[in-house]
Amino acid sequence: MNTKISVQEVRRTFPLKDEEFVALDGVSLDIADNEFVTVVGPSGCGKSTLMNILAGLDTPTSGRALVDGKDVLGPGPERGVIFQQYALFPWLTVRKNVEFGLKVAGLDAVQRRERADHFIRMVGLEQFADALPKMLSGGMKQRCAIARAYAVNPSILLMDEPFGALDALTRVTLQEQLLDTWNREKRTVLFITHDVDEAVFLANRVVVMAARPGRIYDVIDVGLPHPRTEEARLSPGFAELRNRVWHSVYHQAPGIAAGQ
């Protein structure tokens, strides 16, 4: 399998008053083409920092982040990002939001409309195509953001706790829809979450991170078959993996800097 994303010995520090905060230390991770990787860990483990570095919104203090073998130098349309706060442009309708990246890419109105409508249908928002974001519920906003990210046809999707602000029921529904979408339109996905169930349900591989300093603690393969449905969620195999990830997240051995 081709390596799509390669993170090599990445370290990111932030200056504090009299010391420096180590958000990431010695983080190395390879993600294959079309793999779905979830990253789970306690708050402060640097999972969002890792995503920002890959998105090109942040740069590592040392180490390298490569996509398709090239260093990440800034944001690019081949890497779609989905934010926890939706980040829809509130003055644009759902369709115009989805068309935003296409307009930037220079597509003409007919092509934009066609592509946008395809992805709006994909996330089931066709009835709301001309609605403003303020009229949408949280789940619908995030579906719109997913359509917007997909529309520019990125080969990578970086998702930063996208369902974190949603209620449990909406979250489960969106997880299933996301997997369904991913099965139909395969992409390399890096999905950040603090929800262990979500991490196991979605992933081919779960990366468990630890805090102080932010580092990779464990990597767990998830062999559950696709398509994953409610049954998969209730299966003994799922429960076993869930326990393993849970244990890894909440009973972490003390880190190098944990004694401070």
Partner: protein, 281 residues
């Protein structure tokens, strides 16, 4: 008091209630319509009551002209063309000053919000002049620019500019970082981000600044005309004062008030149109 708190909700575009899924519609929506009409009735009662009080006071021996006398005076001033002449003179001044002021304020505000260099160089001057009422500069401006139209338009320009530039600057500075990031990851470069994200996101701030600027411009105008003008509503009042012509003063006051209100409402309408996308909480 609950009635006044409801005003912004009532002014929200009606489409929002219609296109929301039924489950999300607030149960209070049935009660909104009666509240609005209640408000209008109360407003009307208040206006009629106020005019009645004025009339009574005039009758009771205060030196006010009665409402019919003021209306008669207005007709007379309109008939001989004085009212129109004053109105046009004042409107021309305020609109020129206000439009130039806003037109300069918006790009300057954007520059200050976007570039540290512009902010560093311009901010001290704007903060300094902001603390001086534009009228306080009038004596100096009159000396330097003479008594023609230019000094009056200039102080009005200054009033509108200062109100609008601060607001625009605030708008640019407070644009949500995530929206800029969202545009960047969709491939947008600085120019596109500016035009498609920063400008629309700052529009509510700009419009608020323009409304404040208009109020400020209007106040400055009348005072400037009181000091030096060949025509205008302020000039007319000042003349009437010399001849103890209270009816003319009343006409001018009412006209100034009504014009100010109309212009404010027009801007409010533009605001609702342009910034209806905002989530109101």
């Amino acid at each position: 008091m609950t009635g006044t708190q409801n005003v912004p909700r009532v002014e929200a575009p009606p489409t929002s209630a219609l296109s929301r899924p039924p489950a999300a519609a607030p149960p209070a929506s049935r009660r909104r319509l009666p509240r609005r009409s209640t408000l209008v009735v109360l407003n009307a009662l208040s206006i009629v009551g106020g005019i009645a009080c004025w009339w009574l006071l005039a009758r009771a021996g205060f030196q006010f002209p009665t409402p019919p006398e003021v209306v008669a005076k207005a007709m007379q001033l309109a008939a001989n063309g004085t009212l129109q002449e004053d109105l046009l003179a004042s409107l021309a001044r305020v609109l020129t000053g206000f439009l130039i002021g806003s037109a300069v304020a918006v790009p300057v505000g954007f520059l200050m919000g976007w570039y540290t260099l512009a902010r560093g160089l311009l901010e001290p001057w704007i903060q300094f002049f902001r603390t001086i009422p534009p009228l306080a500069l009038l004596p100096l401006v009159l000396v330097l620019l003479g008594i023609g139209e230019v000094p009056k338009v200039f102080v009005i320009f200054l009033a509108a500019f200062l109100a609008c530039v601060i607001s625009t600057y605030q708008g640019v500075v407070s644009v949500d970082r995530t929206l800029i990031d969202a545009a960047r990851v969709l491939g947008a470069k600085d120019g596109t981000i500016f035009a498609r994200v920063v400008v629309p996101a700052s529009t509510p701030f700009i419009l608020v600044g323009m409304r404040v600027g208009l109020g400020s411009a209007w106040a400055t105008l009348v005072a400037a005309e009181l000091l030096a003008a060949p025509a205008g509503l302020g000039y007319r009042m000042q003349q009437a004062q010399l001849y103890y012509d209270l009816a003319t003063i009343f006409v001018s006051i009412v006209v100034i008030g009504v014009l100010g209100l109309v212009m404010d409402r027009l801007l409010l309408l533009a605001e609702t149109r342009l910034t209806g996308w905002q989530e109101r909480r």
